[in-house]
Assembly symmetry: C2
Homo-oligomer: 206 residues x 2
Amino acid sequence: MTTTTEAPRRGRPGYDRDGMLAVIVAAFNDHGYDATSLGIIAQRLGLSKSAVYHHFSSKEEMLELALEKALGALEQVFDSPQATEGPADLRIRHVLRGAVRVACEQQPYLTLLLRLRGNTDAQRHAMERRRAFDQRLRRLFELARDEGALREDMDPGVAERLTFGLVNSLVEWYRPDGPMTPDELAKAVVAFVRSGLRVSESRDYR
Amino acid sequence: MTTTTEAPRRGRPGYDRDGMLAVIVAAFNDHGYDATSLGIIAQRLGLSKSAVYHHFSSKEEMLELALEKALGALEQVFDSPQATEGPADLRIRHVLRGAVRVACEQQPYLTLLLRLRGNTDAQRHAMERRRAFDQRLRRLFELARDEGALREDMDPGVAERLTFGLVNSLVEWYRPDGPMTPDELAKAVVAFVRSGLRVSESRDYR
């Protein structure tokens, strides 16, 4: 397909490292990370295998860089003051909006994260960081329960899992060229989750 | 690992065809269907490859039988009178309860269905049948909207996708030996979805 060049190249014209990563992650998502060979990656990039190694030291490094896009973005959401200060109710709203934005903007990278099977150290480490989000959202629901903002018949752990299930499902069907913007989706998700989890309709949610 | 037997066997002692299928589906879910070789399957079953072929004509047949467990169960839910007659609101409740039951009882088979990538005819056919459920639930939400039971700011298509996202996420974390029964989970899911989608808290939902 392609010829090997001796001089280090920055990928094909038009590819920067991020652009290459996008192509690589699409291959991971099509074939599964474990089943994606370097040959497949090189072919998709239109580069020789050795040229690919000018940019990434290993498949594992590609995985780590790709996962960081989703994990880093989610950590920013959970670490922001709006997620760590104030009433649990508003903190949950901020986290939901942020998580929807990440699902839309980092769609292929989050897809990769959600499909990991834990077969390598890098995969297991990423899955641990993902589990930390579960714990943080669960604590927010526990706080909401203590503050009287979570319906009493709903276990905070179940609330957390169903909520992330709903948000994460966005990666399966969100389309950047679809009829809804990430902001509109965030509103719909917040409305869905909130009205399902709040004690009373009479509270003012905006 | 195992020796080939010339006489047709019904699998290992204790394995009937359903038991073999459970072992096979676990392999599919661990490795991905496309990457699961007959060698892996034979090893997991403790049978020779030729012995496996006494029970299943091909890997594709194993896939079809496995997917049928999830697809057939879901079709039963959608085809039942409680899902096809009466107010949309009650029909949705019936579908939700049934879908949660399927997610819990057919967990590995539904997991397999949800992870299909569409690389073979059998996979694409199963994905079409799955999409039909999306359309049927969407029509129920449209009906609910027409009957005034769906909140006005919620698009029926978005409601459907988020709802199935929430229900399908159960396969990722439901444990048969966990603290909640399928019935309790169904109640929690119905409460979550309903209160999020209904027009008013004052309606009596049970």
